[in-house]
């Protein structure tokens, strides 16, 4: 069965800290890995990764995929209270006319002032 596991489940840091969130997956016919940020409502898209070793960056956030290790990390540098959210990792695979997102359990990040 396809599976996505995230760690840690929750994390409390202080403003200015750097955090690393982990995502590992076991899926057949892997296609892509996506990171989403969920605050109070809808998950919002952060990154989509399809190739190993190529870092994607957006401001203080960056992410990289390791297909050999079947994993990805999401880094947030100089954290701010506005980074507090649930960070969701999801994977898609090939097959069928459309693809579903297989989500991990999420990491709850709390950034304290």
């Amino acid at each position: 069965e396809d599976k996505v596991v995230q760690s840690p489940l929750s994390l409390v840091v202080h403003e200015g800290d750097t955090v690393t969130l982990n995502c590992s997956y076991e899926v057949t016919n892997f296609r892509s890995l996506l990171w989403y940020k969920q605050e109070k409502k809808a998950p919002t898209f952060l990154f989509m990764l399809t190739s190993s070793g190529i870092e994607k960056k957006s401001g203080r956030l960056s992410s990289i995929l390791d297909k050999k290790e079947l994993s990805s990390i999401l880094n947030i540098t100089a954290t701010q209270t506005g980074d507090s959210a649930i960070y969701l990792c999801a994977v898609t695979n090939y097959g069928g006319a459309t693809n579903k997102l297989i989500f991990g359990t999420g990491t709850l990040l709390a950034v304290q002032p």
Binding site: R31, S32, L34, Y36, Q38, K41, A42, P43, T44, F45, M48, I86, L88, A90, T92, G96, A97, T98, N99, K100, L101, I102, F103, T105, G106, L108
Partner: protein
Amino acid sequence: DTAVSQTPKYLVTQMGNDKSIKCEQNLGHDTMYWYKQDSKKFLKIMFSYNNKELIINETVPNRFSPKSPDKAHLNLHINSLELGDSAVYFCASSHPSSVAYNEQFFGPGTRLTVL
């Protein structure tokens, strides 16, 4: 200007009732989805429609019936509501282009509480 919208935002109802949640997207996407997020915040796919055709139907009780009148709308009807149906239901959409296909845009969610 909302890309993916859902109504209602909140729904409180009694066990045994039948209710519907509506979803509309104005992004011109061909594919729409319903996800359920439980109390532990775990998001799981329920259904997917591509151009009004049912593509994904996960192991969901047949009390849940999606309906897509056109490719911009995907509604979810739930019969005989049970306590365990309490959750947040998210609608999402995506466009089947080769690059951006997997990026799904989510609606604001409908929080369903069954008493």
